[in-house]
């Protein structure tokens, strides 16, 4: 096991280098750079003399150097833990992302819990009551959530929440709490706003989980050992939870690899539509304006979390399911 983990850790280095190269190239692919966006915006608002500042900026941000040189600067900084400067905010990237991080974690965490809490019991019910009215009904609801465009659902919920409960539209709290210190009022205000993104983002994920759990569980429930256990008079609840359910859980654990980056990135589009103060909109904006260090460092952070997450889920799987043998894979 230890050998396996060490091997995986070593493999991470070339993986991350590869990812960093691809990330950088993709960000640079669209024509122009941050400054062309800057000029375009500047002129779109009707200002004059926009071109004058450009050479100055180009020098300052090192955009006059060849691409490979820019890449080297970025990567060397990253290795020293510096995420570079965001062009748009003219601040270190960490300062830009930092403040929105904890709200992102709250939203994503709540969403994941919501998804699990909803889909887990439904999945189990659907599997044990296959082809019943309940199975069909709940599955239909799950698929409705998957099929409804997220942004549309978000706008409708925002509007209804405002009309019915007087909740302010968008954001994660009423505007007056934005800079205020923590208080009961602020907490309640966050709860009032939080349910919309959680429901919107969550519903799109539930259908998938329900179906996977249902399918896996159905496989297990047919097997001999379950039939034997039942025949020997084990109570149905225990006969379900002891082995079949545990086996059916594999997809949940395997998902952890994707979970970590999700927690940090948030659901980008929904966050933009709902004006959530999370990291998603910052990332989107950085990509649009080719704010390359901000976008690049952010994507690298996500990549790192994915790689770590996959490792963690692999290890958990091994613990959970003795049939999975890691050592053999590593020796190939």
């Amino acid at each position: 096991m230890i050998q396996y983990v060490a091997y995986r850790l070593v493999i991470m280095v070339p993986t991350l280098i590869g990812i960093s190269l691809i990330t950088f190239i993709i960000i640079q692919l669209p024509p122009g750079d941050f400054l062309s966006t800057l000029i375009a915006e500047c002129e779109a608002s009707g200002q004059k003399g926009c071109a004058e500042q450009i050479d100055l900026y180009r020098q300052e941000f090192g955009l006059d150097k060849p691409i490979w040189h820019q890449y080297l600067i970025w990567v060397t900084d990253l290795m020293q833990g510096k995420m570079g400067i965001s062009f748009e905010y003219e601040k270190p990237v960490s300062e830009v992302i930092g403040p929105s991080l904890w709200l992102t974690i709250i939203v994503s965490g709540a969403t994941i819990i919501f998804t699990w809490v909803v889909s887990f019991p439904i999945g189990v019910y659907s599997a044990t009551h296959q082809y019943s009215w309940g199975d069909h009904g709940l599955t239909l609801i799950g698929f409705l959530g998957l099929a409804t465009p997220n942004f549309l659902l978000a706008l409708v919920l925002l509007f209804l929440a405002n009309v019915w409960f007087g909740t302010s539209i968008g954001g994660l709290m009423d505007p007056e709490y934005i800079d205020a210190p923590w208080s009961w009022g602020k907490f309640v205000s966050i709860l009032e706003h939080l349910w919309i993104p959680v429901v919107v983002i969550g519903t799109s994920g539930t259908a998938g989980l329900i179906r996977r759990l249902r399918a896996n569980l159905l496989d297990e429930l047919q097997k001999q050992y379950v039939v034997t256990a039942r025949a020997k008079g084990l109570p149905p609840g225990r006969a379900l939870v002891k082995y079949p359910l545990r086996m059916a859980l594999n997809p949940f654990i395997a998902d952890i690899g994707n979970l970590l980056p999700q927690v940090i990135s948030g659901a980008v589009i929904v966050s933009v539509v709902l004006s959530l103060p999370t990291t998603g909109p910052i990332l989107l904006r950085a990509l649009q304006t080719q704010d390359m260090y901000l976008a690049g460092s952010f994507l690298m952070a996500l990549a790192l979390l994915t790689v770590i997450g996959v490792l963690v889920s692999d290890m958990l799987l091994a613990v959970l399911d003795p049939r999975i043998r890691l050592g053999q894979e590593a020796s190939h």
Partner: protein
Amino acid sequence: MIRFLALTLCAHVFASLTLSPAAADEVPYWEEMVASGELPPMAERLPSEPLVVDDGREIGTYGGDWTMLITRSKDTRLLVVFGYARLVGYNTALEIVPDILESYEVKEGRIFTFHLREGHRWSDGHPLTAEDFRYWWEDVANNEELAPSGPPSILLVDGQAPAFEVIDETTIRYTWDKPNPDFLPALASASPIFLYRPAHFMKQYHADYGDTDQIAQWVEEAEKTSWASLHNAEDDMYKFDSDSLPTLQPWTITNEAPAQRFVGERNPYYYKVDAAGQQLPYMDQVLMNVVDSKLVPLKTWSGESDLQARALSFSDFTFLKEGETHSDYTVNLWQTARGSQLALYPNLCVNNPVWNKVVRDVRFRRALSQAIDRTELNQVIYYGLGIEGQNTVLPASPLFDPHYREVYASFDIDEANRLLDDMGLTERNSKGIRLLPDGRPMEIIVETAGENTEETDILELVHDHWLQVGVKMFSKPLQREVLRNRIFACETLISIWFGNENGIPSAAMSPSEFAPTSQQLFMWPTWGQYYETGGEAGRPIDMDGPQRLMELYLAWRAATSGEEREAIWKEILTIYSDGVYSIGLVAGTLQPIVTSNRLHNVPTEGLYNWDPGAQLGMYQPDTFFFTNGDDGRP
């Protein structure tokens, strides 16, 4: 000019006789700080002769926070745009009047003498003096590290920078060899040139003045590359993104990006008072909440903005109107002032030799213009509320003549067909599409940035109109940067883009949009680039009409009298309309302005324009106030 000066002088004498600033009560917002001695009383904070706003506005009451919605943190600059404290600024009649300056004199259009107000202070209480101007000119604009490209080009006449003099503590002078008519408009613009800096504050970041070790430490902390980039980052008076930089605007920013909400706090040393001697602004704070632009109409509808125009468009009007009963606000429609909301730009430098010859033929451009049914565009896209015609000046401009707008802008298929036949483009293929001289069908690709449905909707209609004269049109959406680069490289045949920015010029405003003065004018990018770079890049003009426009533009710059300028303007407008260098469509579209019913002094009719006007800035938001000083929020 002299008459105007006399008038302002009278106004000041009158003001100083009728009011003693001490008579007005202290601003409640500052009461505690004044009582505890942290802040001097109002009379000592104001300049000895404050600017008195006495144009028949309501006298207001202090208090309340102006909540508005912005779409990204960069929009903190709106506090500078809307605040509109300028050395000189436009009044609502679009005349340039002294603002931060107590007065100014212009001799021969080239010697500008500025007089500051005695006792005028920065928002941190430090006096504003000639030193602040000297610092910017000598230590910033002419410092090779801070400004490698030298002073802004608008301050150069034929490449020559002005001579700068400090006459005394409150008087400065800029002298050129030749007239510089762009100077005052550049100071009054929505994003102005700032000739001054808070020298006492900025010097600590300047290598010539500050403590070297301290600066090195700050550079390190901010992860900057040099002291110059640190200085430039701290020094942006327009971006308004530093909470420590002293300012002269009515509200000062109190927090920095990234944030979800930006707060502007009233400037205790602001230089304007109302007719009763109360220090402006009336509203204590400006709260700017950052939301996605798609949410702005919805949030405005639910009453979460006190005064909103940004990110609202005409298509939101009915929805917003419906919200009037729900949220206690009123929607007004203001005029916009582009020469044309959108216009088609035939690229006169297009590389394809066959097309190049065709596009340069004025008959072709006139034919395309006359083959567009502008009435239909107006009805379908703008509910018939726009003004149809060429991309030129609007009726609100003193230079307006209906001829400029109407010529070659009527829908006349027969005439358009005749013009094209006249050019010898009589051959058609089996589908009825005309053939170019080299036998290819006449298929025009109109390139667009494709950022809104308005552009594509219009092109869809124009497609049908042009088909009637045997011209097939395709539209091609591109990313904005790509579109721009293709136009600059003369790859694009025709593009669709916004019309002229300033549709309401007076003779004193620059006609630069009507001549090949900039690469950004999409009908003649290479000629514009040639002018912009002083002949280093681009190509010289090789067409008679644009050549004449350029000569006229240079003549306008050299002109010293108003009559001369007006005559030049009229000739420019005539040539421009005659040559159909850009094909205008519909202008004068309307901008919804949502105003809380508690808010006073916001005009119900107005002009919503970036420059001149600074959108709301020209209407002086520092004089807007809430009923009983209460913004009606919990």
